[in-house]
Amino acid sequence: MTGFAAAVVEAWQELRIHKLRVLLSLIGVGVAVCSLTAAVAVGTIAQQGLVEQYEKESGRPAMYSMFAYNGETGTPPPRSVTNDVFDKTMKQFKISFHSMVGDASVTSKLGGKERQISVRIVEPPYADMFRLVPVQGRWLTAKDADNYSPAIVVDARFLKARGLGPGSLPATVKLQGDREVTATIVGQLPKDIYTGSPTVYMLPATYDRWFGTSQPLGDASYQMWVPVTGSKALSAAVRQQLRSQLPSLEVELQRIDYKAHGGGGQFREFKKVVGGIGLLILGLGALSLLNIALVTIKQRVREIGIRRSFGATSGRIFFSVMMESIVATLVAGVVGVIAAVGIVNSSFVHKHLFDNVTDVPGFPASAAVTGVLVSLAVGALAGLVPALVAVRVRIIDAIRF
């Protein structure tokens, strides 16, 4: 116990006395650990951004899509039939996140010319299921079905074509339905990178009421979002229930989110690349530390000889030099991690890197722990070579050095 305490005290004294050298040599390590930690953290947050993109595209895991059709003709049944069955089944299995999804198109005069507008017909839970968060205004609610003006949510492309900007909602726009109707834009979503044309979202009841007579929605699917754990069994039970309720129809039910077919491998590749860059930076930092440590040991040969004359064993000298390196790099590592937390959490980085991430996770603890552990490992590795050199110093030569 005394020996360990003495070695720590000794290492600390060395750091205190050679603070300028230590500071200079550790700047590299601190910067390297900061870079590695920041890279791991940014990687984790960027991964969250990627996940969100995937979830916006194909839904949050586990997302299932269901549709029914006539096995002989291949045509879908009237929605009035499937809607009821689907709603009842969802209630039966207590699944609260589910939505009908249909696609149609309408025309509208935007920017002085007639344009084709994609219409996505969905129910209120759809926003949570596909991570749709309005950047201004609000998402659709069930009450919007009763509005005298059809309530719509539009994407950024639509709003721009309409000549509107931030803070302009609610606003109105004329859409060509069964007759020309003035719709109210209640919310705006970010630009949808998966569709090329301006898109509007509306409730099924809204569509049926204002647009459905001239262009009845023929094809619609139903989607449900359920917990990943137990999703297979649940989906099988739902399928069975739907089939029993629709005996004359074929019912298809399939998982559609990005994890459906063992997805997520791209994240591992992404992490590997980010980690590889971080390790490269760290390696350079460690190399500079090792370089300085070796030069320093050469300069400290006499001191080591004097300590040996006091009775310091070679083990103690080894431990002392190692401890010095570890204590120093640990301090540099902690400083580096703190700096990384500050950088990654800065509003500048958030604005420029994570603008597309809805749920920006906090600074990942794993990145901080990785940074501290890596700094310890660098300290041990960079201390090993000088420690071995120090142990091999011949006492007599060292004192006369």
Binding site: T2, V9, G311, I396
Partner: protein
């Protein structure tokens, strides 16, 4: 008085790069007891420092035996030798060899970093007391470079004695000091060592310093020759 060290027919030979052997010490016999003050005089290259290294367990003889407290040092592992060196041997070097960047107090406390238990935890108090004994109570916080040569050597003496060694080995302790300061430091070293009951072995090429010892030897051609016994 208790015998601490016994050298019997000790030789030390080094193998040179041209394949020849250089016999630095041959047939050295010496017995050292607690309280002894032994002066060993010799010219440069006579093997004085080699003998000091052997006495301080920093080196091993080529042939012959060195017994430390009755134990053959050839049987000691480097760890055991280090432990004995830390506990029972104090070194005073010609160039002081104070640790740079540390105060006088830190320098004197340095050997206590390798001491067990209370000596380690109370190292600063013990070191301060030792500095007081060598007359440097007012310079505890001084850096080596701000001390005179005599003061630096007194710090080195305090450091050599701080763990209460049985043997103090002084290698040209006044070599870097002027005559007057050297004599003063040597008197102090003799007094403090005698007071603590340790044996003092001074290796020097200065006859005046050697004459302060109660037993004197001369190293000539690698052989240790006894000079007339001196009275304390």
């Amino acid at each position: 008085m208790t015998e601490l060290l016994r050298l019997s027919d000790v030789t030390r030979t080094v193998h040179l790069p041209d394949e020849s052997d250089l016999h630095i010490l041959t047939g050295v016999n010496l017995s050292i007891a607690s309280g002894d003050h032994i002066g060993i005089i010799g010219r440069s290259g006579s093997g004085k420092s080699t003998l000091l290294n052997l006495l301080g367990l920093l080196d091993k003889p080529t042939t012959g035996t060195i017994e430390w407290d009755g134990r053959d040092t050839r049987d000691l592992s480097s760890r055991q030798a280090a432990r004995i060196r830390g506990r029972d041997v104090g070194f005073v070097f010609q160039q002081f060899n104070l640790l740079p960047g540390r105060t006088a107090l830190d320098n004197v406390a340095a050997p206590l970093m390798y001491a067990p238990g209370r000596a380690f935890w109370n190292r600063r108090e013990i070191a301060a007391e030792m500095l007081r004994r060598v007359g440097l109570a007012a310079r505890v916080d001084s850096m080596p470079e701000s001390l005179s040569g005599g003061e630096q050597q007194r710090v080195a003496i305090a450091r050599a004695l701080v763990r209460g060694p049985k043997v103090v080995l002084a290698d040209e302790p006044t070599g870097a000091l002027d005559v007057e300061t050297g004599a003063e430091v040597m008197q102090m070293l003799d007094a403090v060592t005698y007071e603590s009951g340790a044996a003092l072995i001074t290796i020097t090429h200065d006859i005046a310093i050697a004459q302060m010892a109660r037993q004197r030897f001369r190293l000539e051609g690698g052989k240790l020759l006894s000079v007339a016994e001196a009275t304390p």
